[in-house]
């Protein structure tokens, strides 16, 4: 009986860790949704790029912590380029061209990386070389603990940025009403550019953190992105708390599904959960139902 509880706690722990990766990528999604009303289908590829930037710097002999810093700077630059190349030219069009444009960007990024790094997945060292700690029979891998800790820190930082600083208020104003924001002198284009930079960095952090667990591979981003996007819908479209809760929930459901039902169909559980939510509660856990104005 005790073994049973320990085992379930173990599954819960790794589910939460994986879920917090989804939550991190989902946060990036939500930021862009709130700023531009479009979904960036290349969000997961930011994670992939983060992982590969790390690989590139480590291969060049840069020390681990400096490599993380440089990789995140590189992600910021990618975010800016992405904003200028993929979103900005289409900013006055409906959501459909933008979605498709981000899908195109995703194909481009994956294949450009494929060209430079080849198809072989790359392993990566953990952030801390200690294997882990055991509490009451539950083994906690340090990488998983790092993931949970880093996610917590970033969520706290983001809360502070948005709710406690003038800059954050400007970002919020931009997302709610661009015309009005422009009228009161907020540089809207710069705010949106910042959003893309910041969410690329968030994606990069997620990629770097998850790499030691999943390996760095071309396809790692797509599947994380799909889960993260499911998390934003489950949590409530565009809701920050919702996307975190949704991400964690997905990770846990997936962990238990893989453990008790089937490993090969692990990815299907997330999508089934999404289906169920969309049918029964399309506005998500924290979302409000909004009807169109006539």
């Amino acid at each position: 009986m005790n073994d049973f509880i320990v085992m379930n706690l173990q599954v819960l722990f790794s589910g939460l860790a994986l879920g917090s990766i989804y939550a991190l990528v989902a946060l990036g999604f939500v930021l862009i949704i709130r700023a531009t009303n479009v979904v960036n289908f290349a969000q997961g590829d930011f994670a992939m790029l983060g992982g590969f930037s790390m690989v590139a710097f480590l291969t060049a002999g840069v020390p681990y912590w400096l490599a993380i810093l440089l990789a995140l700077v590189a992600m910021g630059i990618f975010g800016l380029i992405f904003n200028l190349g993929v979103y900005y030219p289409l900013r006055h069009r409906s959501f459909l061209p933008v979605i498709i444009s981000t899908l195109g960007a995703s194909i481009f990024m994956q294949n450009a990386v494929l060209y430079f790094f080849g198809p072989q997945p790359r392993p990566m060292d953990k952030v801390f070389s200690v294997p882990g700690i055991e509490i009451g029979g539950v083994f906690m891998d340090t990488q998983y603990l790092t993931i949970l800790g880093a996610t917590g820190l970033l969520v706290a930082f983001q809360y502070f940025l948005f709710e406690r600083t003038l800059f954050g208020k400007k970002l919020q104003a931009t997302s709610q009403d661009k015309d009005m924001a422009r009228l009161v002198g907020i540089p809207v284009a710069a705010m949106i550019a910042f959003t893309f930079i910041y969410s690329a960095i968030l994606g990069g952090v997620a990629g770097i953190l998850v790499s030691p667990v999943l390996f760095v591979s071309i396809g790692m981003g797509s599947i994380i992105a799909l889960k993260a996007f499911s998390a934003t819908i489950i949590g409530g479209f565009g809701d920050v708390t919702g996307s975190i809760v949704g991400g964690l929930l997905l990770g846990v459901v997936e962990g238990f599904g893989a453990h008790y039902i089937s490993v090969p169909y692990k990815d299907a559980f997330a999508f089934l959960l999404l289906f169920i939510f969309l049918l029964l509660r399309p506005q998500g856990i924290f979302g409000e139902k909004i009807s169109e104005k006539a």
Partner: protein
Amino acid sequence: MKKILLVLALGILVALLPYTMKISPYVLNIFMQAITYSIAVLGMTVVLGYTGQINLAQATFFGLGAYAVALGTVGPGLNFWITLIMGIGVAIISGFVLGLTTLRLKGHYLAMITISFQQIFDLILVNWIDFTRGPDGIAGIERPSIFGYALSDDRAYLFLCALILYACIYFVWQLPQTSTGRAMRAVRENELAAEVTGVNSLQIKVIAFTISAGLAGLGGALYAAGFAYISPDNFNFSRSIEFLTMVLLGGAQSAFGSALGTSLLILLPEWLRFLKEVYLAAYGLAVILIMVFLPTGIWGIISSRTAKYRKPVPIDLDSIQTLDISVPITDPAPILQLQNVQKHFGGVKAVDGITLNVARGTVHALIGPNGSGKTTTLNVLNGIYKTTAGQIVFDGKDITELAPHERAGLGVGRTFQNIRLFPSMSVVENVMVGAQRPNNQIAPGQAALRARALSALKFVGLAEQAEVIVQNLPYGHQRLVEIARALAGHPTFLLLDEPAAGLNQTEKQELVALLKRLRGHGLTIFLIEHDIGLIEQVSDKITVLNFGKQIADGNPSDVLNHPDVITAYLGDASHVTA
């Protein structure tokens, strides 16, 4: 007729083209792909191009068709044609079920749910090895025979596929001119307006999704027999993106465009061979560039360039019949009865208990300061909002729970404060959507719809503009088109939301005349208006709202002099000292 025969002959010649050359497996490969993909992409034309709904799972439906043929013919040895029908059937059923459950959702949600569907399909193909034979795929799929003539010859099979493709192109090409196709475009252009005009938007979207899935299933079935081997790689998410890119490149709104886009994108890898490994990267870049520089696709550019050479069909104004909008008033009971109708948004009581009767054949005005709940009342009346409490009885029938399109079907017409037309459709097509509302008593067929629409346009004085794209009309005329659209449906009850907004003095007088003319025909009009002068001229009765509450109801002169009404509009005068 001659034209059609010419096109047909030309098509058959093209289809016979493979016979003139020696077909290498390489050329066969390209032809085969171009034809079967085109059929699937035509489905995208219907769902994305015509109906404006995103579908990122087209490869799944394509795969369902292909796997039905492969699994049916290879193991159990079923007849090809039976498995083909099965494949289309399975695709259609999945499309229908997926559509029915998810098409209530819009935009991003729909994108995501179709991606999920695609991913689950992919997982099943790879992992359910007992049934699908897993990642190795299925080989040895045999070609069909037709009337005892085996199509094992590549050219014969290609010829058959080309003929099927023609049939599909013809079907998709003609679709927009049918009532269903017009409703699809209306949903794409403005779903809310389509619904209020009598289009069951969910039904139309499900039909579009089902047609699209069926076409993909057909393409997939032909593909499987064409290549004799299939594996899960042929039907994954990237294939869905490829289908999407093909339809966008060619021009999503045209059947010819999608065939063109498909062929180009199949040939592109051949032309980009020199790029080798970066081919796919270049392809991703191409997608972005198409979105930025070719928003209407190649066919869109071709058709806008050639537009000036096409002669519009001249409209014989004299032959247009006078619009029949007469509503016989036989029943003395009120046409509309509201009983304590309420609409709350969270804690805000936008409409807080309205009780009123609207008499048949009258003009009833609803006035009140900004934010008093007028437009909300109108939205509750035609079903855009569901009531929080209360009852709405229309023509003796409780309509409280009916959807907007069902109310339109009972004869409730509507115009909007901020005009809601179908911007890229022509004036006459806009009005035809109105004419085709359910229960409209006109002869069947497109000719009758068009005649009815032209009559409605003549009634508002816009018949000459019938073929103009509606977004090119000036503002005042667009308002009239909206009224014509409502009138073409022969409504008994008309809801007008600030019809005079933005009109100049002359146009306002024309509007007054029009409203009086409508009332003369027996129509009941319920309108919101800020122009008190206009209200005094046309109204038989006025109801005043303030903060969601009804503060006065009665004859114009009584209501406009009512102290509460004056206070609501001008503030409390008691503390003002002269």
